[in-house]
Symmetry: D2
Subunit: 331 residues, 4 copies
């Protein structure tokens, strides 16, 4: 009973079908029919024009997006526990040519206007200090917390006032949308670039960057090739994305994962670090309790000494989530 | 009848099967059972210890390999028409942090000892000039020409004498081995790192770098994550590679493509720029002749004003190759 | 009465004389007689072999030194308030090709073994997290605090155990040596590379990096040229350094600055944030007190809301320091 | 009798005086009175608004200038024998974060419109190939050849049509102006950024970048600090520049060097590779002839097997130039 992560979950059957249907000769790279449909597909989803660039990993999507917003001598304000800071092996430093991550605090690994302003207030020495060029938020956050449309509007206004770009790491964007119950456009807010993840949500290896400014997408295309991320058979990546968007499959799968996280959280209600707003549950457990759960066959991640993380995925079985919930309650 | 490139060819049925068989929970990244088998699989193939790192594109494989051999202030001696110089959108400059490609001449886009020595002879100004740190050869070359084991030994001796790393871009390594009729070890020669391509030869998006020095593989693993190329579901990449190696499928598919290139070349014998040693045919055709062929339904690439390029793939149909050969002969 | 910084102080008369004496034809770059003497001069000073590379600024010296110890995918453990983190405009990100500064806490902007170990303890995710490759300490620290030989030995042992390089930013190394009253070798401890500053201490624009491993100096020479820091008339830089070392002038000048800082500190004894161990005094002053001092003609830097910084230099006049001391005492 | 290079020549007495006059407390970095005068001083010289950034070496000036015109994924069209390609130790790769030098041919190391267009014509593969973002010319060229105002206008028109930046490496701009007898504005032509050298022409270590677009100068200031080129006592650099511009000293010194090069050329008239248009003479000499000259006490650089280079400087003595001229004539 696996609750370690959603990042290695199975590939959805409809994704397999779409990939196999794409196994016919077509133009290489992103010149194929499926890749060429993406702009329109996402424009429909977001209700506004956009330009879409696919990439094979979330790290690549995040960093290619940021590289359109940040110059090498600049910085990105992000949360101290964000994925780009903690889990991407220094990829932002590589893709942004030495630009810096400027770390902000905030409960639930979410940025607030106040936290961003505090970082900005500390940058006072002109050329002697790295200046912020962009803000990066994670929807949902590392702790499975969602930004509300209002929170995003406030951060967007701050970004606009200070001339900063706004990026959203949406590795679990689907889970945030499913939780918020709002439109994708509202869940994205006024971002310049959204890394929209499909790999954790039924795909094999497909993420897209949605740019609301086409010039930035052009820039990302040069950088994507230069980073070795322009797959020659890109049609298989586009096929995954199209299959997951079709008929709202992406939202259905994310909803399933969220529901099971809620189920797990129910059993851990006394122990929750945060009330789950996506597909992650952080629960305070002692070493003995962890051992007890593992003895019952549950796999999960030791977040730190205080708490563990349970992640549900599109393919998590209801009976497993229920069993975990009961086991947590019984501790 | 498509002879444009092998880079967007279909995925082999056995590869599909292997990928679907891999669609069960396993460790993320390269911790899965299939990825962990790769070192042993390639050690068998090459008859010596090696450490293997997968990547999703040839550009990534080449550049990650080179980054283990070249420091940012160094350079790579390569052919003026090599893929890393002409077709990777500046990826070497990105991955090597500004290191330089030092261009050598040579018929058939192959490097000779003399050509490399000429480049080295031009580097005389100490710190004022970028020094060579490595040599990169392409097996088979951009013109579908194969290096013989003797040629590789000579280049390897030169590299060793001068303290240079030796890298092989093997995007079409299978085709070279099939042509040479030697062992993979002989076709690789004394290289430090081999980018061994599977995408053009029945795979979907799978290349590996074979390192004969494990320390270099370690280094490549750090750099791979940092470049956003560490797929979370890496088992699907490893599955492709294992499927293609099993039972020598890789060699069989490359042999098929080579045979059809020979078929095409037979019809163009008076027009050949090079005698094909892999799956590419370069033929001198006038604009009128090109138009005539296209009118008959053949798709191919205008290499330059003098010649065109026909590429066969593992899935090229014999009847198409025969038809093209006849059409060429009839011009 | 200027106490803003020592960074724009005058050039010592003996430095002027030495520079003018160097104004005769000699080999360009670092091939001149003076540059070629530096290795021997510093070997004498440190009582062990070393290889010395000059550079025109402290930022360049620090970053060229670190680039020999840290790979692009690695990181440098340094204090949250160190110069490389706060005041070099992102130069480490540039010179180290995106490597990361890993920030540690510590009173007086000094690193302790415990603080470094805490940073190391937080790096647990393998390739997903940037690993430390080096530690950088500042002697004297941003708050004018000196590391004792024992403290350096402990940090050196930790670095050795963990396979980390050890760098010292010695922009005010002279002041630290003058305070500690020990040998330069003891004040440097077991560092791999020391950025030894002369600009703030009577020079015009001369810093050196002292490498105790000649291979690292070789590497720094390639990188220095590549960074545009190989001055063609390097003899003028070497002349400054030689003049300041001759007869212990460097130590005499630093001693003077330290003594005047002590004088200033005497007047501010109730207000000191740290007891000065170099030529900087940090004192708690209200806005009204700052205004009062400025009205009396004293120039100084508002460090933050709590305190101000007074810096003395080799050319600070005793009467000015005394006046400031009295003014502080009278507040 | 030294004709090796002008790069290590003496410092002019008026430069010494100006530097010593600047040895009084002033604001650090480029906040001092002299640095703040530079914009106006160069606006006078060029008859149009400009923003000026100093740097300590020509390599830094060239690369900081180019970094404002070229993105990391782009390229710079330059001559195969230009300084940025041959003599800067890979600095463009470093400062431009991996951008590429795109090499053009041309007699006298000068670029023509046709040569640039030929490079552009070879860039046809979209994201797969590095695109040109700028053109860099050298005034005077590596072979001491000057671009006429007409030639620069033509290159400027091409750059504008193709959306390319235009940079001029003016390490010997003074010599070109002195030769052309036109205004500095005409000798610079429609460049976006001019690296204007003073080090070879009486300075110690002072170059400036003249930007005709202030936004680019702002960008260069961030990059300069980040590259460790923001000297804390920048007033000494500005002092050099101001002293050399005052009363046209720069042009007088360059005129002297040019005249002595003409004197040398006179004696070598049968052997000239190019008719000198600055302060360099390239002459065909056999090994025996070289040895004979050296035996007479002349020092010079072996350019290649065919020819040698003689360089005159502001401090070359007339009698030495005359002696060399006679010795050449007598060969």
């Amino acid at each position: 009973m696996q609750f370690l992560s959603d990042n290695a979950a199975r590939v959805h059957p409809r994704v397999w079908q779409a990939m196999q249907a794409a196994d016919a000769p077509d133009a290489p790279y992103d010149g194929d029919a499926l890749s060429r449909r993406l702009d329109a597909v996402f424009a429909d989803l977001f209700g506004r024009d956009c330009a879409v660039v696919w990439a094979g990993t979330g790290t690549a999507a995040n960093c290619l997006a940021l590289a359109t917003l940040v110059q090498p001598h600049g910085g990105v304000i992000c949360h101290r526990e964000s994925h780009i800071e903690m889990d991407e092996g220094g990829a932002p430093g590589f893709y942004l040519h030495g630009a810096k991550l400027l770390l902000a605090e905030g409960a639930g690994a979410k940025l607030s206007v106040a936290a961003v302003e505090q970082v900005l207030a500390g940058i006072t020495r002109g050329v002697h200090q790295v200046q912020a060029h962009a803000i990066s938020v994670t929807q949902a956050s590392e702790y499975g917390q969602a930004y509300t449309p209002d929170e995003l509007r406030a951060l967007g206004a701050l970004a606009a006032n200070r001339g900063l770009g706004l990026h959203m790491d949406g590795a679990r964007f689907a889970n945030a949308v499913a939780f918020l119950g709002c439109s994708p456009a509202e869940a994205a807010g006024p971002v310049d670039a959204l890394s929209f993840g499909f790999t954790k949500n039924g795909g094999m290896d497909a993420e897209v960057i949605v740019f609301f400014d086409p010039a930035k997408a052009d820039l990302a295309r040069w950088r994507r090739k230069r980073a070795g991320h322009l797959h020659s058979k890109g049609r298989f990546m586009a096929a995954q994305v199209v299959a997951l968007l079709e008929g709202g499959l992406w939202l259905e799968l994310a909803g399933h994962a969220n529901a099971l996280a809620a189920e797990v959280a129910w059993g851990a209600s006394e122990r929750l670090v945060y009330r789950p707003q996506a597909n992650e549950v952080f629960a305070r457990l002692t070493a003995a309790e962890r051992a007890a759960l593992r003895a019952q066959g549950f796999a999960f991640y030791d977040w730190d000494e205080a708490c563990v993380r349970f992640v549900t995925a599109w393919d998590t079985r209801e009976e497993d989530a229920r069993a975990l919930s009961r086991a947590l309650a019984a501790l």
